[in-house]
């Protein structure tokens, strides 16, 4: 299993981006079969959806697209539900052994805590990539109000997607990029607008390339 762990603050656009990434993975044929279903009829892409509320919304949005989704609600998989995440992930491995697992974290999660947990306890994991979505429109506000969380989410990302750049002027985008890069200069970085269809080349480099 190749795991794509999506982090980023509430409202940054994780679900919109995951919809595009999932479509990309489904349409991209790997090793002779589509990623939505293997020859055995099992899904080759499974999404684990973690939401802090009692009722999920993002899981319904993803299911409406025909995607295979597992829910972990009413808690955060980087702390209160970390054992449930491990159980869920290992069940997926045993029952389906998909090529791809996308994990959408709550907007309050620290992705590196989750990586530590699944690296230690997860079974059958070939790779883990942490993709953090940063909200360009609210960067100044969020990095001021809760710098610990925002910096903690971005600092150890493998890939940073600066989303909603359509809401800013080019100079503002450049300033936000500088702020993001000060926290993490080594991650792959893409400035995007998930409101529109993102160039598949971005997904190829950011998601599927090793």
């Amino acid at each position: 299993m190749n795991i794509l762990l999506f982090g980023g603050f509430l409202g940054s656009g994780k679900t919109s981006i995951i919809l595009q990434v999932a479509r990309y993975l489904v349409e991209t044929r790997k090793e002779g079969f589509s990623t939505r279903q293997t020859d055995s009829g099992k899904p080759s892409l499974v999404i684990i959806e973690n939401e802090v509320g009692e009722t999920g919304i993002d899981d319904k949005i993803l299911r409406a697209e025909g995607l295979s989704v597992r829910d972990l609600f009413a808690g955060c998989i980087c702390c209160t539900l970390n054992a449930e995440l491990t159980i869920c992930l290992n069940e997926i491995q045993e029952e389906l052994s998909p090529q791809w697992v996308i994990i959408e974290t709550t907007g309050m999660a620290f992705p590196d805590k989750i990586v530590a947990t699944i690296t230690k306890f997860g079974k059958g994991i070939d790779s883990i990539k942490t993709i953090v979505v940063a909200d360009a429109e609210r960067w100044d506000e969020l990095s001021t109000v809760m710098p610990g969380l925002i910096e903690g989410q971005i600092a150890k990302a493998d890939v940073i997607l600066l989303n909603k750049i359509d809401c800013l002027e080019p100079k503002q985008v450049s300033d936000v990029k500088e702020g993001v890069r000060r926290i993490n200069s080594s991650a792959l970085f893409y400035a995007i607008s998930a409101h529109h269809e993102v160039d598949p080349q971005v997904w190829r480099e950011a998601v599927t390339d090793k």
Binding site: F9, L10, G11, E51, V52, G53, E54, T55, G56, I57, D58, K60, I61, A64, C76, C78, C79, T80, G107, M108, F110, K113, D135, E137, R138, E141, V145, M146, P147, G148, L149, E151, G152, A155, H195
Partner: protein, 138 residues
């Protein structure tokens, strides 16, 4: 309704031992799913107007009290789907291809509001009252 202004958000530990700040604000969360059945078929336009009004009202209430919006989201599940979301500014509206032509006598909206700076009780009361008022419009 008068609300007290919060200059600082209540903090909690979130159970993290991390090189960054261990403390982060604890948001108030309102999240419910409703199954609505109407006596006669209602247009998707009217459903969209009613639910958009709820998102606007929660957004404006949060703004008026200097609360930080985590996100406000609605997803309407049925033969057709509607997705509304806001982080305190514009409301993003997405829908399935045939949504605009749809009439229905039953619908299941799931609503979530995550707001920093208020309590779960206050948010719950405000969200519930305003949701009921918006649904009464249908």
């Amino acid at each position: 309704m008068s609300e007290q202004q919060h200059e600082h958000f209540p903090m909690h530990s979130h159970q993290h031992s991390h090189e960054f700040s261990n403390e982060q604000p604890d948001p108030a969360i309102f999240s419910e799913t409703h199954s609505l059945v109407f006596l006669e078929k209602v247009s998707s336009e009217k459903i969209q107007q009613a639910l958009t009004l709820w998102v606007e009202e929660i957004r404006d209430w949060a703004k008026g009290n200097a609360y930080l919006v985590g996100h406000i989201k609605i997803f309407v599940e049925g033969q057709e789907n509607l997705w509304l979301s806001s982080t305190g500014g514009n409301i993003n509206i997405k829908y399935s291809p045939e949504w605009s032509e749809w009439f229905t006598d039953k619908v299941s909206p799931s609503v979530t509001a995550i707001i920093f700076g208020t309590t779960k009780e206050t948010l719950g009361e405000v969200a519930q009252v305003r949701l009921q008022a918006c649904l009464d419009y249908l």
